[in-house]
Amino acid sequence: MNPYMAVEAVNTKIVTKQGYLLNKDNWKKLFSFNSVSQLTEFFRNDPEFKIVFKDLSTDEIHRNNLEAFLSKYRTYEIEELLHYFSGHYKSFVQALLIEAEIQDLSLILRKIARDEKLNNIKENFVHSEKYTDLNFDKLLSSRNLLSFTENLKGSLYYNDLRNLTKEDAVKREFHIEMKLQLIFYNNLLKKSEDLCKEDMKIAKDIIGFKIDLENVQWIYRALNYYKISPEEMLIYSINGGRKINYNRLKKLCYIKSNEDFKKTVNSYLKFDFFEELKSKTSNLTIDQHMLKFIKKNKFKGIGTILTYYFLVGIIIYDLTSVTEGIKYNAPKEKILEYLSFKI
């Protein structure tokens, strides 16, 4: 028996929630809507989502807002599940909340770097107010990048952001995003070291798979779209992959041709990562592979909450795509193509 995790309670709760979120009848209902306001009303009354949508005042919802509300749902879910954990297990699950915190930090950073006003930014915040160590009010009072980084002093993020210049924030935006992503995964892996042996293995397996996907996406983008050196590509790659270890990452970063890259990636991952990439975004590809991985492996223990966390992320992305589709009157078949979850 694990004294730090109420295993049965978490499993029961998550199985019920998953069953609801993946209920095909609910998804079919979504497709019957013709306007965003109908969709918003649906979320407002939905037994799962209403908790975060109750604060929504307007009927017309922008993509960013919707994504924010749905991400708040993910934060809320983790906050609620945290009641079933204690000790190192609690701090591991709490480390998942950092992803939402990073999302908000990036938002503030982008606005400050572009000299935009920070008014109303709070409504798009998705971090957990209960479990954050950051003083967001203080961060919002930052007048420039220097005071912003100074306000981060003592936090997980300070060392990596302290030398940030305005030019970096505007021209090297993806660098910051990669740095923050590195912080999230490194911290999560570090926290997983404190779990019991069996759970640590499961956690590293799941996180490692996600890291593999993120790394492939990152190097693929860097090779094709960013003009950066292979050394930099390697620095921003995340360590701790399931199939792609450091030496393999290094090899990938120094590959010259696209074809060679794809071939090598597929040989490492043992499946075709690029199968549907031509017609879709790389985010969607990652989600689809992750969903397949979650469905194929029935993880237990800490794996249930970890897979649930990633699953909710995928659902959020899909729901956002449905809203976009409905907003622009896209044919249902077309919207379906852009979903990871196959109805």
């Binding site: 990596d160 952001l161 660098h175 740095k179 050196s229 050394e231 390697l234 620095i235």
Partner: protein
């Protein structure tokens, strides 16, 4: 406590609010109020003062003024920091109404223009010194203090940088070393940091590439001033000389300001007070209801202060109305703040009450009761003349820094000394060891004393629980809650049930000649009444329906509550056995050390063992007794009568964080 409604014209809002802040005895009512739209007096004020339409309200950007004010305070503080002037709150300088916020701002600008440049220079020089000391600190962590850095800087095709890198990033760079166009060497450590010092040497032609790489690694470059050169030890020497020079520069600059400083000391403090007053006024203004041309502010004040408040406002205007409604008149619709009133003995115990919560205005303040019972219970559990004296002296020393906590400890110490005389115990030693020691009951661990000490604990418990029930009943009835006050588990019927339970136990022991059937019947009747408390209350109040909601779930809930009441009543009384048990434990613990000391003939060793024993008793056992005492207060007593959801009376005052 009274709720004051201050009505005045918008034109005079600023001076009125200023007076309210300066009199330091009003508490802002943060609850929403419909004062302006509902109150006849407000309209009366409008017609009497004939201010309608004369000065229409203009929207004021409070945030802008507030930020401006904060900015000015920061500038002033920086200047005074450089001048080494200590700014302090002084209400007297604000009494002159002619010197306002605008005057203060102008004066501040004038002072900044005359002294600002020198002060800025001093501030910059101080900053330079701190940077140099930071470099010195980093250089002192370099392993090879004779590293010839100047030779590297003389290289024609190479450049170098010294800086800090985290272990994680160091690992990243190390693993890909063969592909880097730079040499990376660890040259030292940085104390109290997870980073180490590194030197990076790279060909000049790869400067951009290297810079990008370093940025990705969150490289923290150490910027060395150009005029500092040589080996690290030479650089440290140069830094010391430079810091000395800069310090004398500061001294010189400060001297030139010395004359102005004395002259401006008073005015700077005056400006400071005007600025913090303005800051506070804006904070209060946010709570004001604005009408067409008048304002309404609701504040709480103590009854005896009302006259003084009116007189304060009267000093700046005669066009104002202050209406007063006592907390009693306002009834349940408001939540007045609470100001605890306690005498010199009970006051320090407020910290224990506040840890649980503050009594609401209509609730009985449990502090005197707690002070009395806590001191008594602590003394019974930890009675010793010598150890009590140690606590008393420790409390006295502590009270210099933490007044209330120290005073609290002193009182507990006195109680411990008192019971020390009753038990006849001095640092654990009793009459057997010290025959001259006075004692009332004799040895605590004497078999004939043990049952009476345990029984005393229970009797003390029954008495304090009786008072707790009484408080609970009074509090509930004050709130008009008949259901809880009369029929509830902490109400009159609850108490009757508790007493019956005790009486039945006493009957069973045969101490009183009464059939046990009588108290048991009372218990049953009480339980039935408690189950039916809601319908009984509604019958009494002539209200319908008798049960709100589903009757089935009401009875299920009530029956479970009764089971809980039975268990609680038993555990409540038994819980107080710990009072006696800890008195025995206290003596027993020392006995263990006494026995240990008797095992040796060496006098010094004997004394050492007894001293160690006393230290352990004073620290560990003292702490446990303190916590157990708190547990009895919070769990057994407070839960009967104290909700602790009051708001503290916090008068608006000048303060600046």
């Amino acid at each position: 406590m009274a709720l004051l409604q201050v009505v005045g014209s918008l034109e005079e809002m600023h001076p009125i609010l200023k007076e309210l802040i300066l009199c330091e005895n009003v508490h802002l009512n943060s609850e929403s109020n419909n004062a302006y739209s509902n109150n006849l007096l407000v309209h009366e004020f409008e017609s009497e003062t004939n201010v309608i339409g004369t000065n229409p309200y203009k929207e004021v950007d409070y945030d802008k003024i507030y930020n401006q004010c904060k900015g000015d305070i920061a500038t002033l503080e920086n200047l005074c920091n450089v001048l080494d002037i200590h700014l302090k709150k002084d209400i007297n300088v604000l009494s002159s109404s002619s010197y306002d916020y605008q005057n203060a701002r102008e004066d501040l600008q004038n002072i900044i223009s005359t002294m600002g440049s020198i002060a800025d220079k001093i501030s910059l020089t101080k900053k330079e010194i701190s940077e140099l000391l930071n470099i010195k600190d980093k250089f002192s962590g370099i392993f090879n203090q004779n590293l010839a850095l100047s030779k590297i800087s003389d290289l024609q095709y190479f450049e170098y940088e010294i800086g800090a890198l985290s272990h994680d990033n160091k690992w990243r760079i190390k693993k890909n070393y063969e592909n880097l166009s730079a040499i990376v060497l660890r040259i030292g450590i940085i104390k109290s940091s997870v980073e180490d010092m590194y030197i990076i040497i790279y060909p000049k032609q790869y400067k951009d590439e290297t810079n990008n790489l370093l940025k990705s690694l969150s490289w923290n470059e150490l910027k060395i001033p150009k005029d500092i050169r040589g080996t690290p030890s030479e650089m440290i020497g140069q830094i010391d000389i430079r810091v000395k020079e800069l310090n004398s520069e500061i001294e010189e600059l400060t001297k030139t300001l010395e004359f102005d400083k004395e002259e401006h000391k008073y005015i700077l403090n005056k400006i400071f007070n005007v600025l913090i007053a303005e800051e506070k006024i804006i904070e209060v203004q946010r709570n004001v209801d604005i009408g067409e041309n008048l304002f309404v502010l609701n504040v709480w004040a103590k009854d005896k202060d009302v006259k003084a408040i009116e007189e304060s406002i009267g000093r700046v205007t005669n066009k104002f109305i202050v209406t007063k409604k006592s907390a009693k008149e306002l009834g349940k619709q408001v939540k007045p703040p609470t100001k605890l009133k306690n005498n010199w003995f009970t006051k320090p115990f407020e910290i224990i009450v506040k840890m649980y919560g503050l009594p609401s205005y209509n609730e009985i303040d449990p502090t005197p009761f707690l002070a009395l019972t806590y001191t008594l219970i602590f003394g019974i559990m930890f009675g010793d003349i010598g150890q009590g004296l140690v606590y008393f002296l420790a409390g006295y020393a502590l009270s210099k820094k933490f007044y209330d906590a120290g005073q609290l400890l002193m009182r507990l110490g006195v109680s411990s000394i008192f019971f020390g005389f009753i038990y006849g115990s001095l640092f654990g030693l009793e009459q057997h060891e010290l025959p001259w020691l006075p004692s009332l009951v004799g040895k605590v661990l004497d078999p004939k004393n043990i049952p009476s000490i345990l029984l005393t604990g229970v009797i003390v418990g029954i008495v304090v629980l009786t008072v707790s029930y009484a408080f609970g009943i009074i509090n509930a009835l004050k709130k008009g809650d008949i259901e809880e006050g009369v029929f509830g588990k902490n109400g009159a019927v609850g108490y009757l049930f508790f007493v019956s339970l005790i009486v039945s136990v006493v009957c069973l022991t045969g101490l009183i000649k009464l059939s046990v059937i009588v108290p048991i019947m009372t218990i049953v009747v009480c339980l039935v009444i408690m189950v039916l408390k809601e319908p009984l209350t509604n019958i009494l109040m002539n209200k319908k329906p008798l049960i709100h909601g589903d009757a089935g779930s009401y009875f299920t809930e009530s029956i479970f509550e009764c089971v809980e009441t039975i268990l609680n009543a038993l555990s409540n009384a038994i819980s107080f056995i710990r009072v006696g048990a800890f008195a025995l434990n206290h003596a027993g613990l020392f006995l263990a050390f006494l026995v240990m000391s008797e095992l040796t003939d060496n006098m010094v060793l004997k004394i050492i063992i007894l001293v160690i024993g006393n230290i352990l008793i004073l620290t560990l056992e003292g702490l446990i007794v303190f916590i157990q005492g708190l547990r009895l207060q919070y769990y057994e007593m407070f839960s009967k009568f104290f909700a602790g959801d009051g708001i503290e009376f916090e008068p608006v005052k000048l303060n600046h964080k």
